[in-house]
């Protein structure tokens, strides 16, 4: 329940979940990059859009993860603005997303997942 002397927690919950979305999207593109040569080429934003020089697919991975972070933050903020949400539930969701993102960046885990796909290099 909201302490009536404090602001509603919705905007903070939205910021937390958005951070989780960014982390997860980063992890997903990391795996997709390893699975598909087409996606690997697509993610070379340095060559396609001039985002850095010589960065390779990392440029696309971090750009898309950051875009997902910002866009999800805006959307969630608009939804939760002015609301007192169930913070424990929102934070649990944020934590799950962040930990999934962490896990997918960990080489033994993403290599295991990549190995499940027949087209993996």
């Amino acid at each position: 329940m909201q302490d009536m002397q404090t602001k509603p927690n919705g905007p903070v919950a939205a910021a937390f979940v958005a951070a989780g979305v960014g982390a997860l999207v980063l992890g997903i593109f990391l795996v997709l990059n390893e699975i598909s040569p087409d996606i690997n080429n697509f993610l070379k934003f340095d060559a396609s859009y001039g985002l850095g020089k010589g960065v390779g697919p990392l440029s696309g991975k971090v750009a898309l993860a950051t875009i997902a972070y910002v866009v999800s933050w805006v959307v969630l903020h608009m939804y939760a603005r002015g609301k007192e949400v169930n913070f424990s539930r929102w934070f649990a969701a944020a934590l799950i997303l962040v930990l999934a993102g962490f896990a997918l960046t960990f080489p033994p885990i993403f290599e295991f997942i990549v190995g499940l796909f027949p087209k993996a290099a």
């Binding site: 404090t6 905007p11 951070a19 960014g22 990391l30 962040v98 962490f102």
Partner: protein, 182 residues
């Protein structure tokens, strides 16, 4: 005594920004932990809150600067491709190409395959988390003292941001020791 451009950037990326991040993290975590109504007077809360705001904002800004400089300035030097004709198994000719130098030997290849692969990605989680923390601290300010569940969540996110940056920083130091970009 002089530094090359690459040495300056690697020092800025790893040492200067890394040190600022550590300082801001430890100060911020201590500030969040002790921001309890039963430990502080109203004056104490009012005195600490601006420091907490500045600390968390510095942490977020430093996290962004670190990953941006690392990814778009230092990393391309690390992954620079050797010219055609060089023997990719001969470390003696790959000194200017750290990624290929590491991969040229089974003894050093894991620094790239595990260390760099993890570092270059996990580091990017830190600014997302640190920014969420900074936003929450700015949003609530002194009211955080009455929102214990959010304060605890902030400490968890703060710590996860530190772990992400710490893993990246640690492997960055090890990899630089093995194969410097400078």
């Amino acid at each position: 005594m002089e530094f090359s451009e690459r040495e300056l950037w690697t020092v800025l990326h790893g040492l200067v920004l890394g040190t600022l991040f550590l300082l801001a993290f430890s100060g911020g975590l201590a500030g969040l932990y002790s921001l309890k109504a039963n430990l502080l007077t109203e004056e104490g809360v009012a005195e600490r809150t601006p420091r907490l705001v500045y600390g968390s904002v510095v942490l977020a800004v430093v996290a962004w600067l670190t990953v941006i400089s690392g990814t778009f300035i230092v990393y391309p030097w690390y992954r620079a491709k050797p010219p055609e004709g060089l023997d990719l198994k001969d470390q003696s000719v790959l000194g200017d190409f750290p990624r290929y130098w590491l991969l040229a030997s089974d003894k050093t290849a894991e620094w790239h395959k595990f260390g760099m692969e993890w570092k270059e990605h996990v580091a990017w989680i830190a600014p997302y988390l640190a920014t969420a923390v900074a936003f929450a601290v700015i949003y609530y300010g002194a009211q955080l003292v009455r929102r214990g569940e959010i304060r605890r969540a902030l400490m968890i996110f703060f710590t996860l941001a530190f772990l992400a940056a710490g893993a990246a920083g640690l492997f960055g130091a090890f990899i630089t020791k093995a194969a410097a970009v400078a």
